[in-house]
Amino acid sequence: MSNAKPMNAHPGMNLGYGEGAHDAEVKVFGFWVFLMSDLVTFGLVFAIFGTMVEATAGGPGPREVTNLHSVAIQTALLLGSSFAFSWASLSMKYHEGRWRTLFYLSFAATSALGFLIIEFLDFRHWIEIGAVPQRSGYLSALWALVGLHGLHVAAGLLWVGAMTAQILIFGLTDDIKSRVTRLGLYWHFLDIVWVGIFSMVFLAGIA
């Protein structure tokens, strides 16, 4: 956290990479470039949603699709997942051993899986009440935005699975630590996108 340490140059954490430090820096910066392009994608889907808010064409609107209990649980699960990932990163940084790191990672993954299950139940409910994407412009935009985020979380879960296997096989080497750091950036980024979704899509929809 102090500026005096030249090794702590990326926005992840100083994980004490040896000679590969510069390489890890470049990869993390490259990953930020990806995240920011992903942010543009999400931002534009948000903008499309904004233009479609009124376009319900007589079909189900924000009040019909918003289940505040479910949104609150999903928010808690995703925030919990993000926080558990922080703890995994810290256990990696402070050399608590691979099992500790895997424990926090599995917590983060379980929480995110719970998020996806609750989201899936919401999707099923939307289909039951006829709130399908082809019903109206509003619903197309809603499914595109919430679905895009859900797909990102699902992809993140696959990535956690891959990293778990790599940690089990190779241990916490510098390469693996660098990969887990990038996964952490992705994980926290998805929680930021969810803040936008629960505020602007669900809460603002019923305000």
Binding site: I48, S82, D191
Partner: protein, 111 residues
Amino acid sequence: MKPNIKTMVRSVTGEESEERSFYSLGLVLSILLTVASFATVISGLVPRDWMIPGLIVLAIVQIVVHLRIFLHIDLSRQKREDLLMLLFTVLLLGIMAFGTLWIMSNLAVRM
């Protein structure tokens, strides 16, 4: 070589506990801001006209908290490239997203 057991015992340094409490602060702030967002809509204490602006402000504050605490973005020189990239992306999004909303709402009014 026999490993020196003494040096392998982990001690919680000042930096570590500081970092852990910083993350915990992030969690507490996020929970408070999320509860405030939900309360804005369901408590009935906030006038209708203020709900959406309130939600926007709370969301932006929470995003800044996440960026600062969980994603380690700050104003230090080392992280300036990341911060500049983030700000440039926000500028691009401001032009594209705000422009889209502006033009499309204008079109909707005229139709």
